[in-house]
């Protein structure tokens, strides 16, 4: 019989973090090592169940002897590495990432941790001027590379635009999109492999788009909602949650989360049901569960209407 491959035993390497010498397993990323040491590190585009895409640069750290700052989420630890996580360069860079995002994107629904980091670094997006007026519906989706005038600096450029509601399951509010690529990865090779969405355009015109910008119901989308499940800023939201927020009835303090098992096939996917007033208002799956890794299908994530009374 063939042996079970469990991999070679992990060697430990010595890394200096903020002046402290620590031993961490070879092959870990700096982010894993830092979290293992209890060193808090901001992330936006990183998620445990997705491959790192290095898009947001908010997790950067300073590695001695290296010209550029390193993204902690994807840089593996090396023997003898000397890492600074709170140097002036790191603080400045993280502040700029958050400030530029906050000046152009609506971060009102980003999680409290991100808001905490913005306070820590003294992020002041208002210094870029008042936000520019929102784009008309579909305008940002039609922009072509190279057709731009330099801005006059009187207002802060933004990605503000009308909300897209094209079906009864998803709401896509791209005024809140930081282009972290999580939705693209979840729709692509990391989970669903449907490839219904990708980043189109360049520079400040970059946006999440379906093929040929068709409306979502006409696209390749199969409504698994795995993009919704990974969105860190509330740009993608189940319509059930959106409707409650719009009517002022979304009350996290009155919600309970219960873990159960989906009823729609024999795979046995764990579901986290968020319930408010005896109604399911949102369905997720635990990111660290080995059956789903946080990902579901359309029935598991949205097929609860039959128990709403």
């Amino acid at each position: 019989m063939s042996a079970v491959l469990v991999g070679l035993p992990k060697r430990l390497v010595t890394v200096e973090v903020d002046g402290q010498s620590v031993r961490v397993p070879e092959g870990q990323t700096l982010l894993e090592a830092l979290r293992g040491q209890g060193v808090a590190t901001p992330t936006l585009c990183y998620l445990e169940n997705l491959a790192p895409v290095n898009a947001c640069r908010v997790c950067v750290v300073e590695v001695a002897g290296q010209r550029t700052l390193a993204p902690a989420c994807s840089r593996p630890v090396e023997e003898g590495m000397v890492v600074a996580t709170d140097s002036p360069r790191v603080r400045h860079s993280r502040k700029m990432v958050l400030e530029l995002l906050a000046s152009s994107v609506d971060l009102s629904l980003a999680d409290d941790e991100i808001k905490g980091w913005m306070a820590t670094y003294g992020v002041a997006p208002e210094r870029y001027g008042p936000p520019a007026p929102p784009a008309a519906a579909g305008e940002r989706d039609r922009r072509r590379a190279g057709h731009h005038e330099p801005p006059d600096g009187s207002v802060a450029a933004t990605v503000a635009q009308p909300v897209k509601i094209q079906d009864d399951l998803y709401v896509r509010d791209y005024s809140k999109c930081i282009l972290c690529y999580k939705c693209v990865e979840a729709c692509g090779e990391d989970a669903q492999n449907t490839f219904a969405i990708a980043v189109a355009g360049r520079g400040f015109d970059a946006r999440i788009a379906t093929e040929f910008d068709v409306e979502l119901p006409d696209s390749a989308c199969v409504y698994c909602g795995n993009c919704v499940g990974v969105c860190p800023t509330g740009a993608l939201m189940p319509k059930s949650e959106w409707d409650l927020r719009q009517s002022g009835q979304w009350r996290p303090d009155d919600q309970q989360v219960t873990e159960t098992i989906c009823s729609f096939c024999g795979v046995g996917c764990p579901l986290e049901l968020t319930v408010q007033d005896n109604r399911i208002v949102r369905v997720d799956s635990p990111l660290d569960h080995d059956i789903t890794r946080g990902h579901l299908c359309v029935k598991g994530r949205f097929g609860f209407e039959h128990v709403q009374h």
Binding site: S2, C265, G266, V267, C269, R279, F304
Partner: protein, 560 residues
């Protein structure tokens, strides 16, 4: 299989294997999160072979799609086995140490040459040979199947034909090599494990085993019938003969889900007394004398379910049920009390603890441990046991532990509902990604993928041949009955093959057509193979050239 009715392998192993075969399974749509694990294997370099009459969305990911004739699975499997033997690729050591019946098997598959199998299955000989070589030479391989194998008149033989291949190559009982029947509902596996089948007590104890049965009789404090009961198909036969006059149906909608539904509805209507316990007033409940409103098991009750990798997981109550609806367990306890056996108060955990005191393979699965380990895979005999990732490692031990695994010589017998001049099309059935069974649970949410009325799907070539337009309502006739339904065209179908779901009986009453002939070994009806003809409705169009291009948008995009 080999004494334990469950898949031998785990989802993690599917990710780590070198070859996945989906045989009669469209997992991309029917088990989407299982297919995520298959996709991870593909990205690691594993091969995928899909055996299915339809070129499904699963087949779109395959290295090779074997589009066999409906119901010719045994011919294909036997030819794969014969080719493995002919090339000397079988695992002689494993066969000798761990199996019985090899000589009879080898003799039985001898007539199934590649050429003969190509004739019987419609799959090119080279593709059959390729599957045989790939499977036999893979380091690890997982063979999965679903209802495309089991909803046939010879369901058990179909499964045995696949198990034979695993025994021939030693692809069972090792990490990354196994057999995996993908279960269609969240507790098909658990229902069987709990003894909710007519021949078993919990933990696969045969009801005819006097010694084992005595353990249950002692614990329950009552004598248990020592003979096997009726399965679903036998119950309908008994209704027909008048031997079964009262029926208590829990969470099942046979008026829509039974094959030859017109006949099934007549039998249900003719009962002396019908009790239906369900979360909705289903078509079956509408026929009932008494309806007991039940709570939804997955979110309004407590309990456990067991998945396709034998993992027992907890269901937890998140919602209060509506109105008078109550958990199944409470209703059953009240019924028992009226019958003179007061078990109350009952709790799901109490019932579970009794179960695991009797079913050895569940012994170590306390609620606390199920929580701690996020479910445990049976067998898990005691509270120090970690559960079992894959079954039958014993077959590889030297010397082998336990009884050997038996080959089964099985012969190809075509579907009973014969395709002929009067019924020239083969109808098969299945599920769609966003829907589930008779639609009782999935019909309520607004899936953006449901863009048109449920239709009979035909190959575009058949649509052209029959002069049908997209969306045209036709009469679909089988030997059991007829329905009127719109047609749509699907390039996943070859000429001669039609497809229908049973999700929305009010739009497409598929089971009026299907054949209720059932496998004498499993009791499963032959849903997957119906002979039909399609008749144009309304006035004939005399003088129209049947070879002319169809009018209207016969092959255009589906109307929104």
């Amino acid at each position: 299989m080999f004494g334990a009715g469950g898949g031998t392998t785990s989802y993690e192993e599917v990710e780590q294997t070198d070859l996945v075969i989906l045989w009669g399974s469209n997992a991309r749509e029917t088990h989407p999160i299982f297919f995520h694990h298959v996709l991870q294997a593909i990205h690691r370099g594993a091969r995928l072979h899909v055996v299915d009459p339809r070129r499904t969305s699963s087949a779109a990911w395959a290295d090779s799609w074997l589009g066999l004739e409906v119901g010719s699975d045994i011919a294909l499997a036997n030819a794969v086995g014969r080719e493995i033997l002919a090339q000397g690729l079988h695992n002689r050591t494993f066969i000798e140490r761990a199996t019985t019946g090899f000589e009879e098997y080898a003799a039985a598959v001898e007539p199934y040459t590649l050429k003969e199998a190509e004739r019987q299955t419609g799959v090119p000989a080279e593709q059959i040979a390729e599957l045989a070589h790939t499977y036999a030479t893979a380091d690890r391989a997982v063979l999965c199947w679903t209802l495309g194998i089991t909803e046939h008149h010879n369901a058990v033989d179909n499964v045995r034909a696949l198990i034979n291949l695993a025994l021939l190559t030693g692809h069972v009982g090792r990490f990354g090599s196994g057999l995996s029947p993908l279960r269609g509902q969240n507790n098909v596996q658990g229902g069987g494990d709990m003894g909710a089948i007519p021949n078993k007590l919990p933990g696969f104890v045969d009801v005819t085993d006097d010694v084992e049965r005595a353990r249950f009789e002692t614990a329950y404090g009552t004598a248990l019938p020592p003979e096997r009961g009726w399965h679903l198909s036998q119950m309908f036969d008994a209704m027909e003969q008048g031997a079964l006059r009262t029926l208590y149906v829990l969470g099942e909608n046979p008026a829509d889900s039974e094959a030859d539904a017109g006949h099934a509805r007549a039998l249900l209507s003719g009962l002396d007394h019908l009790v239906v316990q369900d979360i909705f007033l289903t078509r079956t409940a509408e026929l009932a004398d008494v309806v007991l409103p039940a709570a939804a098991d997955w979110c309004e009750s407590e309990g456990t379910v067991t998945n396709s990798e034998r993992r027992v997981q907890r269901l937890r109550k998140a919602l209060d049920p509506p109105g008078q609806a109550r958990p199944d367990l409470e209703i059953l306890a009240d019924v028992a009390a009226r019958l003179g056996h007061d078990w109350r108060p009952v709790t799901a955990e109490g019932v579970w603890d009794e179960l695991r005191s009797l079913s050895r393979m569940h012994g170590g699965m306390s609620y606390a441990r199920l929580d701690e380990h996020r479910g445990l895979r049976w067998p898990c005999p005691d509270e120090d046991h970690p559960g079992t990732q894959f079954l039958h490692a014993r077959l590889w031990e030297q010397p082998r532990q336990g009884p050997p695994a038996a080959f089964a010589a099985v012969e190809f017998v075509p579907p009973l509902d014969v395709v002929d001049e009067d019924y020239p099309l083969r109808l098969t059935t299945g599920r769609r990604l966003d829907s589930y069974n008779t639609g009782v649970q999935s019909g309520g949410f607004a899936s953006p993928m449901r863009k048109r009325r449920e239709s009979l799907l035909l190959a575009p070539e058949d649509g052209r041949r029959l002069d049908l337009a997209d969306g045209e309502v036709v009469r679909v006739v089988s030997r059991r009955g007829h329905i009127d339904a719109p047609v749509a065209f699907d390039r996943a179908l070859r000429p001669g093959l039609a497809f229908a779901t049973l999700h929305t009986a009010s739009e497409l009453d598929t089971n009026v057509l299907t054949n209720d002939a059932w496998d004498p070994k499993s009791g499963t009806a032959e849903f997957k193979a119906t002979a039909i003809r399609v008749e144009k409705r309304g006035a004939e169009q005399p003088g129209r050239d049947p070879l002319a291009e169809p009018t209207g948008g016969a092959f255009g995009p589906a109307p929104a």
